[in-house]
């Protein structure tokens, strides 16, 4: 039961609402899709919530870390979740937001060695790490070992620069890159929710477009 003591909407009601707002063709394609989100920080938690709301059928969510107090200003966690694993905390929040999505969560660090087994069932993979070398590792590994997958990565969302500098670029047939490409969190001041969310929104929208065949 929800807070107001009225029953939660049924799966059928949620699907009907999605069809009303997103179109039957898109909802059918999204329901059949599996999307992986690697890293559940400022990018990944926002990407996952967007995709869950949009009715993606299955989400593979991966993060090794726990929620820290310095995450709360931009990541989709709550104060009472500080200290618990992000994979577990995000699953709790997603089960409240969109309980009819199939979630598969992994509390592990993605490496060149385990990436294939973690990601082989995904149609689209979103790279949402914070460290530049981890980003490069995942891009290299996916494009070499899983070349049939779509990969949507991110680089550059720190600073208070204009949001209009955040773009989506297609680098190869299967590889898309979102962000301003420039502002490194270790070199500029400011990692602020709306700019991180803009980049996450670019990634989530690109993933949805790819599922819909709009490359």
């Amino acid at each position: 039961m929800s807070a107001g003591d009225t029953p939660l909407p049924s799966r059928e009601q949620i699907l009907a609402a999605l069809v009303q707002k997103q179109g039957a063709d898109a909802v059918e394609k999204l329901q059949k899709a599996t999307i992986a989100v690697c890293g559940l920080g400022g990018l990944g938690s926002n990407i996952a919530i967007s995709l869950a709301r949009a009715g993606v059928g299955r989400l593979i969510l991966i993060d090794f870390d726990t929620v820290d107090i310095t995450n709360l200003h931009r990541q989709q966690y709550k104060m009472n979740q500080v200290g618990i694993p992000k994979a577990e905390a995000l699953l709790q929040n997603l089960e409240e937001i969109a309980p009819y999505v199939q979630y598969e969560v992994h509390q592990v660090k993605v490496t060149a060695e385990n990436a294939v087994s973690l990601l082989q069932e995904a149609d689209v993979i979103c790279e949402a790490f914070d460290k530049a070398d981890a980003k490069a590792m995942l891009v290299d590994t996916v494009l070499e070992k899983l070349p049939q997958k779509y990969l949507v990565a991110a680089s550059g969302m720190a600073s208070y620069d204009s949001g209009n500098a955040i773009l989506t670029r297609r680098i190869t047939d299967k590889f898309y890159l979102c962000g301003d490409g420039k502002n490194d969190v270790d070199e500029v001041v400011g990692l602020v929710a709306p700019r991180v969310m803009l980049c996450a929104a670019h990634q989530a929208l690109t993933a949805i477009r790819l599922v819909l065949g709009l490359d």
Binding site: V139, A158, T172, D184, V185
Partner: protein
Amino acid sequence: MLKINGQDVNAAGKTLESYIAEAGFNKVRIAVERNGEIVPKSKYGETVLADGDCVEVVNFVGGG
């Protein structure tokens, strides 16, 4: 002459490995696209740049 990140560069005959080092890129923070394909890091040493190549070095920055 070939294009790297949109600039004409005279690097034909060099390996990707040596171009990356000379240009000052940090190898662990980049991905390299050459003529529409990603070059795996393990192939940088054997990939010889040729006239007419179109290369993009994607330099990742931190934050997420």
